[in-house]
């Protein structure tokens, strides 16, 4: 239907361990989807499959209704912020940005809001090895949003960011959502998911336990906080 990204019967195992056991779902534009689940539930594998980093054993990935499993062209519509951004030590921030622009063949029409609000311009000549973990996260975030992608995939985006930087990032996420972008977030921080997400996908042992809008979850359980609502559902 109107799904921007669709996953069909996605399966993946590492050795004997089945990590994804047939995931079927669709992600609509203009929504923030929070992917939750305990450790080893398959969150990262799911995200990596969408990004083409992990190659699924079975099943397909569709972008705008087109089959994109194993191709790379569709990735220009995706901005990805990794959990831990690590870059070549000798590279400077400015060089990194330039290289990515070369790679995407997109030089103008860039979204540099985050570059400005994180004051990265003044650090363009610093090499990556001298940056703190938090600054590297800022660089990753700025890169993910830079090319105005249709889809944003953020893996634990606020982990390692200072509170102010995290607020800036959340504002940016909301702004992008209102522009009709699809945003996928994994996070362990439930209050954050509560704040940002429209829809919660809960993965458990490689299956989707539930995939529901957050307000439906809350009204079903009669709770006002996501954390409480989750524990109630999972206990049932």
């Amino acid at each position: 239907m109107g799904d921007l990204i669709e996953l069909r019967d996605l399966k993946k195992s590492f050795g004997k361990l089945e990590v994804l056991k047939g995931i079927n779902c669709g992600f609509e534009k203009g929504k923030v989807v929070s992917v939750l689940g305990p450790n080893a539930a398959g969150k990262t594998t799911l995200i990596k499959s969408v990004l083409g980093m992990v190659i699924p054993d079975q099943g397909n990935i569709l972008y705008k209704g087109e089959l994109v499993t194993g191709t790379f062209e569709y990735k220009k519509h995706i901005g990805y912020m990794p959990q831990i951004g690590r870059y070549p030590d000798n590279m400077k921030i400015g060089q990194l940005f330039e290289m990515m622009q070369d790679l995407r063949k997109l030089k103008s029409d860039l979204d540099t809001d985050l570059v400005e609000s994180y004051h990265l311009k003044s650090m363009y000549n610093k090499t990556m090895s001298t940056l703190s973990g938090g600054t590297r996260q800022k660089v990753s975030a700025a890169l993910a949003f830079m090319f105005q992608p249709e889809v944003l995939i953020l893996d634990e985006p606020t982990a390692g960011l200072d509170p102010i930087a995290a607020e800036i990032l959340k504002d940016k996420i909301m702004e992008q959502k209102n522009k009709g972008k699809l945003i996928l977030i994994t996070s362990h921080i439930l209050t954050e998911a509560d704040e940002l997400a429209d829809i919660v996908m809960y993965l458990l042992d490689g299956n989707i336990r539930f995939y529901k809008p957050i307000d439906v979850l809350k009204s079903e359980t009669g709770e006002t906080r996501l954390g409480k609502a989750l524990t109630k559902i999972l206990a049932a």
């Binding site: 590492f14 980093m53 190659i55 990735k75 990794p82 070549p88 070369d102 790679l103 995407r104």
Partner: protein, 247 residues
């Protein structure tokens, strides 16, 4: 395509090579002897540094590779970009460290052969390093694998050949020996260089046979082709593996 490598390791490597070749040429009046000494050292150091440097580089950049894979660019482009980046910097070191001194002090057919086969040797070991790195998952295993390859080529292989010669000494093995050298890029390079010198007589009957074979145009072509194969095949295999690899 996408690499900025200005590392201290490479500068040190270049300096080391230059130091070796210069000091040998300075201390020894006989240029031919100098070339032999250089060959001996080069055959050990060049493969070792190439393979270890390429492997460590590959694994240090692995998170960045993940990020690149999430970008709209094909996986083989990523791997080849890395390969070209590393190979050209290793080659650059070799050119500055060995080729220039050799060209200045001992420009001869042997010297040329040393330059050429040294370059091919660097390439093949970078290429092997990529194969080892894509086949393994973590850094320790990758470097271990690389060291095993180096160990095999520079030490174990000779032992195997000796053992083989010893146990089958009753049979005519000359042709087999030639075929065997094709399985080791270092041997290929070494034989090619040494046969340009007139010392092959010292190597006895097999040496004479080698000379007949490798000294001829077709022999040189044979060993060059195998050296090129050693550079190209591993990286092609690595590309195939990398395309199917989960990061």
């Amino acid at each position: 395509m996408l690499d900025i490598i200005r590392s201290k390791v490479l500068i040190a490597y270049t300096a080391l090579l230059a130091l070796i070749s210069l000091s040998i040429f300075m201390s020894d009046a006989d240029v031919t002897k100098g070339l032999i000494s250089i060959t001996t050292i080069v055959m050990i150091i060049v493969p070792l540094v190439s393979i270890v440097y390429a492997t460590t580089y590959y694994f240090n950049a692995s998170e960045f590779t993940e990020l690149l894979v999430s970008q709209p660019i094909s996986r083989s482009d990523i791997l080849w970009g890395k390969f070209i980046g590393i190979a050209s910097s290793i080659l650059g070191s070799y050119l500055i460290g060995i080729c220039i001194p050799v060209a200045l002090f001992a420009f001869s057919s042997t010297g040329l052969m040393l330059m050429l086969s040294g370059c091919l040797l660097s390439l093949s070991f970078v290429s092997l390093a990529f194969l080892a790195s894509t086949k393994t998952r973590d850094k320790a295993k990758g470097i271990g694998m690389s060291l095993i390859i180096w160990f095999y080529c520079s030490i174990i292989f000779d032992a195997i050949v000796l053992l083989f010669l010893f146990s089958f000494s009753d049979y005519p093995l000359e042709k087999v020996m030639i075929a065997l050298t094709a399985f080791n890029p270092i041997d290929l390079a070494r034989i090619l260089i040494l046969l340009q010198l007139d010392i092959s007589a010292l190597m006895g009957y097999t040496g004479a046979l080698y000379r007949d074979f490798f000294g001829s145009g077709s022999g040189i072509a044979f060993s060059l082709i195998f050296q090129i194969a050693w550079s190209v095949l591993p990286i092609l295999l690595a590309t195939r593996t990398f395309k199917k690899k989960d990061l």
